[in-house]
Symmetry: C2
Subunit: 333 residues, 2 copies
């Protein structure tokens, strides 16, 4: 049987027990030219919350009755004369929150898990890593000597953003929640400083830790922290709008950045990004990042939880701050 | 005597009768190398409100006790061996709200008022016109076929923004307050459509008048209209943050744009601008704009009020919406 997490009801605010249901259906039969993938790992990302809303966005919302959308990695266990992939291949793609996928292989990519552990392909070498890479280089346009601030800094995207900025010669300050995460940023990832937004007053902490202001702010959180960062911009600063995790489960309107007129005063730019736009360059980025990983210059941490039945509980950890690094669910039994 | 408007007390919210005082002081004596300018016209601009706040901005605030800052135009009536300017020259610069200025001439520029009326040098050929020109071309990066939305569209900056966009082959929609202004935009300036924010529901009107969305939004007003414009962005849209007149006299915090995550969905950019950054290119822009004016392709309207004693009352018209075109005060008696 194929256990699947089915989307049942659009949530208002934070998803509850009626949002999804866990169902078991027969493993699908293969059509000619199809493969069957047994999924090993599912990627859990804050963006998933946005996909549940019935509103115009960068991709269509998940439809009621569909398998919940998710990036994933697994292995081909059956092939009905697939022209390209064979049994044993490791593939990554949009497999959804389920244990088996029958597909013609479109939009699935091979990963060589002899050199790099499988979870990395949906972490630093997957969507979060690509988001970090293109966000900080192409949108943030970092250059040597820049002061870079990143929020959600201990997360899957933020931790890579900060490390890439360090590799490119920037001064990097990370914002995260809790002493343990802040220690991780400074002592393990080599950030220049960290701000614990749970125990520090953010406006004051930014003054102290970015005394010369900020050239690039990579925003994963929105809300109060975005507003505070706006007060510290240097001339011609760039703000990369990657996400707004503090606002995703709002029942009220999103809080807009009151200090946005700092963009005018500082001739600064606030620009949104969606990683899919850079798909044609994923290969190049993944190669560079894999190089850094193998040289020990780029570290990643995965928080791997087990069992597809634990999807809902694990999803909650995305927003509770109760994890470090990339959140992954192991669904193979 | 030299009548001067002196800044006395920083206002909270809208300036009141204690903000400035009108004083008469002797006309200053000239030092060697100085000229005396008799001022004819003073430029009244929404930005003046910002200069009254004691906060970090793109220029220092006006100091208590100083003549109120303002752009101006006048004629040299005396020279104490000035190396460059002579009696009879028409000069434009930062003369402030007063009738006479003694200066060494730094940052004053000659205007040829034999071809163009004097008020135009502080209107379409002055700061508002330059703001429009560089804002819409360099920051808005308009190209033929773009849909351009501009707020404060009947004002000194907005009316020029829209006309330049039309000259460059764009579809232009203007937002202004009242039927008379909207008629002016469409029937006299050649805008494709106008939205009367006083009588129309802005979200609905934008849907109807920008059915394909917006490529460039030139924002002079902030607040609710900025938020509404964000819901209509096309992919890779540009928002030019030029001002936020709806927010300048707030006693409470500025209203941030709740819909800013549209920047993410549409990979759009919001960028602030300050006209002074383009000073080295003013000459080129003024020449192109003067050409358009003389060919009848660029129209401007000045609302000229008389008497330096009427400064406070006239200043109020900047925010009441009770004027059309560039607000100017004639101070020569």
């Amino acid at each position: 049987m194929n256990k699947q997490v089915i989307f049942k009801k659009r949530p208002v605010g934070f998803p509850d027990e009626h949002t999804w249901s866990l169902e078991a259906h027969p493993i699908p039969e293969l059509q000619e030219g199809e493969i069957l993938i047994q999924q090993h790992y599912i990627s859990l990302d804050p963006a998933m919350r946005g996909w549940l809303n019935d509103s115009k966005s960068y991709i269509p919302p998940v439809a009621i009755g569909d398998v919940m959308r998710a990036g994933s990695i697994g292995k081909v266990i059956r092939s009905n004369n697939h022209p390209k992939f064979k049994v044993g291949d490791t593939l990554t793609g949009w497999g959804g929150v389920q244990q088996y996928v029958a597909t013609n292989g479109d939009s699935w990519y091979k990963g060589d898990d002899s050199k790099v552990p499988m979870p990395l392909f949906i972490s630093t070498l997957g969507m979060p890593g690509m988001t970090a890479y293109f966000g900080i280089t192409e949108v943030g346009k970092i250059k040597e000597g820049d002061v870079v601030l990143v929020s959600g800094a201990a997360g899957a995207v933020g931790s890579v953003v900060g490390q890439i900025a360090k590799l490119k010669g920037c001064t990097v300050v990370g914002i995260a929640g809790g002493e343990e995460k802040c220690d991780y940023l400074v002592n393990e990832l080599g950030f220049d400083a960290a701000i614990d937004y749970k125990s520090e007053q953010i406006y004051q902490a930014l003054k102290e830790k970015c005394p010369k202001g900020i050239d690039v702010y990579f925003d994963n959180v929105g809300g109060e922290i975005l507003d505070a960062a706006l007060t510290r911009l240097r001339m011609h600063a760039r703000i990369v709008i990657c996400g707004a995790i503090s606002q995703y489960n709002n029942k009220a309107k999103v809080k807009g950045p009151s200090n946005y007129l700092s963009l005018l005063v500082n001739r600064a730019t606030m620009q949104g990004m969606v990683v899919m736009d850079y798909a044609k360059d994923y290969g190049r980025a993944a190669q560079e990042m894999a190089g850094w990983i193998m040289q020990g210059k780029l570290t990643s941490r995965e928080a791997i939880f087990e069992g597809i039945e634990n999807f809902y509980e694990t999803f909650g950890r995305l927003f509770s701050g109760d994890k470090q690094g990339k959140l992954i669910l192991k669904v193979i039994e």
